[in-house]
Symmetry: C3
Subunit: 309 residues, 3 copies
């Protein structure tokens, strides 16, 4: 909590004067490496770095370079002309900080939860590395979420509900994992609701209350945080077990809350995750949440720059 409160204070200060630390990034270069598509993270991270006076370089692995081999001992006579063990140290040569986006592949749960790609950047790049969403966590999103809850809460200890919602594609657990992780440390009454079988990894949910009845969970909530994720448990890892559209967040369910604010990390599928009515209502704070991505990232970059000589 102490750490979180200090970070929240730093975020609040930075938001009032985004350019106050522009000298920190002078002659420093951020490399952003994307193994997956991005909109918010791409723009908010560049903006945060520029606020701090950094130079930025963006590398889209799939489009600008080529496919990278990640296996050990492979005879590389196929379609991947470079090994990640060469590519990563080289990327580290030309920059001071590295941000990496690499989603879960759902091929092997252990590989995903070991954060193989991100860990290799940490081990091999020779530079400080931060996650722009890994296989299993998205801390910059969760920190932006926390900043947003801090800004909009109207009581000391608000009730925050993370609710699963349906989605046509199997999605990673990165966002709910990190959200749970942060909420468990924050001064909130945290409840998770999802269909049975969608239990998240216990290292993130810890002692959080799980309520399988969504409506029950919504009662008296101050914040509703909607998100889809695929199954975590081994037997069905990465699968979709439930397609029940009754889990969509709609006006009727929101009316059970304490005029709760609606949150989602975006992108969001309208009328699948949430109705048009809810996301367009005055209680939706998805844009304020997105805007805080810039601030959350700037706090992290600022701290990293302060630690780089």
């Amino acid at each position: 909590m102490g750490n979180l409160n200090a970070a929240l204070q730093e975020a609040s200060d930075l938001k009032k004067d985004r350019f106050a630390f522009k000298y920190l990034g002078n002659n420093k270069t951020l490399l952003m490496v994307f193994f997956n598509s991005s909109l918010r993270t791409r723009l908010s991270t560049q903006k945060a770095a520029m606020n701090l006076g950094m130079n930025t370089m963006v590398l889209d692995i799939a489009q600008n370079a080529w496919r990278l081999e990640t296996g050990t001992g492979v005879i590389m006579d196929g379609d991947k002309p470079e090994h990640i063990r060469e590519a990563i140290p080289v990327m580290g040569c030309y920059c001071d900080l590295i941000g990496v986006r690499s989603f879960a592949r759902f091929e092997n749960k252990q590989d995903d939860y070991n954060e193989n790609i991100l860990q290799q950047f940490i081990q091999l790049s020779g530079r400080p590395v931060f996650s722009m969403e890994g296989a299993t966590t998205h801390p910059l999103q969760a920190f932006a979420d926390l900043i947003t809850i801090e800004e909009f809460k109207t009581k000391k200890r608000p009730k925050v509900v993370l609710t699963w919602a349906p989605h046509p594609k199997a999605l990673p657990q990165a966002v709910p994992n990190s959200f749970a992780d942060f909420m468990n440390e924050a001064d909130v009454d945290f409840v998770i609701t999802h269909p049975k079988g969608y239990e998240l990894a216990p290292q993130f949910t810890r002692d959080a209350r799980v309520e399988y009845n969504q409506k029950e969970a919504f009662r008296g909530a101050d914040f509703i945080y909607a998100k889809n994720w695929s199954v975590f448990e081994d037997a069905h890892y990465g699968e979709i077990l439930c397609t029940d559209t009754n889990w969509m967040v709609d006006e009727a369910k929101m009316s059970l809350t304490n005029h709760a604010r609606f949150m989602h990390c975006l992108p969001v599928r309208r009328n699948v995750i949430v109705t048009d009515g809810v996301i367009e209502s005055p209680h939706s704070i998805v844009f304020q949440e997105a805007a805080n991505r810039e601030i959350a990232c700037q706090v992290v970059l600022k701290r990293m720059l302060e630690g780089v000589e």
Copy 2:
């Protein structure tokens, strides 16, 4: 005319000292959003912004992010994971000005002429927005064209001819619409020539003289502005009615003019729109025209920055 003359003077001044207003863009970020490919606009807009000291971010929707839903009330369970009503305000979070390129789709004339995409950016982004070519207009091109005519004219009121030329693909009317719009306000003798059935939208052509005989139109011209466009009229909107290669601009037709300068917005298909001989002749000013794209954009960005607090 008064407005145009002031803008032309500002362009002329800026061209002499491109970096004089670098302080205006300090700590200001331009976001360039491309729904379609670009070469001149991409580079000239970045350059203009950098001349003014701005930071720039480029987002290629198709390559860097994902497809955006634009419909109303859609159950988004298909291939588009985000609605433009979320994406646009989020883009606005991370910048101070937004440039948008989005071509006509020729699916629905009303949608194109309503400039649906551009209008949604104006309404939803919370930022000043400018067109980097919309569905139906390309004002930065027309302004660059006007600057170029101003630089190369040898008489007070030159004859300027916009001539249709053949093209294998159906092209939007954006460039000729804006060119006609600007020429109608400029101190020029403006004539449009095209095959019957290719009449442009009257809100842009207004009282401009249309001459269906291309050779007749060329007589005594001081500037020949070549461009293909597809049909505007409802019954054949977006179609190709004429493939007559006789409409290509060649040396014989240019000899009918008053040593006219040849202009085209580029990209241009050689020996389809215009012969090698004409575009490579000393009277071709297509490069000077392209170079003025930077200046035209810089005038617009400068004015927008002066209006942003």
Copy 3:
């Protein structure tokens, strides 16, 4: 040699203070044009330019723009909407320096060895142009290689061996051509080893010793520089004649050397060009070599900036 030594000294000085000449790039813009993918060149060139205070713009021809026609007199009614004779001068409008990457196509040896694309940029852009790897040379790589050899040599005149190695795809001769070209001017004992039929262009190899027995060539070497290339001679230009995996660089062959440093320009196919053991050994200096790409490019850009008014 005099020129090379001066450039090496300049590289050494720049490496100690990369930001000393930041004023040179003020209000100067580098345009990087990629007809082919890139990782090291993309990042190191941007970094070098930013070290010098330049603005940078990146244009990926395939992704950001469209295909360019390069033929003469073509009726452009196909899939290429712009001719390179228009595109290049336009690119030159918006920048002060241009870097170009364009690989050999292996369609026509004469076209490749004429460096058609690069030469057209030099002739048509109106700006100083440098190669970010052309069809037949890669001087920035060779200069970085020379800097690296200078840093790691332990005797006045080290033995440097360029060795061919197998590869599943036909690769250009650009890297070995430029490496041979530079080594022939440097104060080294230079030996080339490759299977018969893989002789490189004599304008680059000149009087260099060619030893067809790879093991013989390795004896007493101080630097082993591995690289695949396809056939140069007319009858089999661009083909793969040898797939003999015995040419791979392995620990046994390295043991014949004088504790030689292992070099490769990267990307490298492990266990095809070189074994995991060799490239991961303490004698591998591939990362130091890659890091010097930034320095090599910065020397070139600095000199170009000093020559631009």
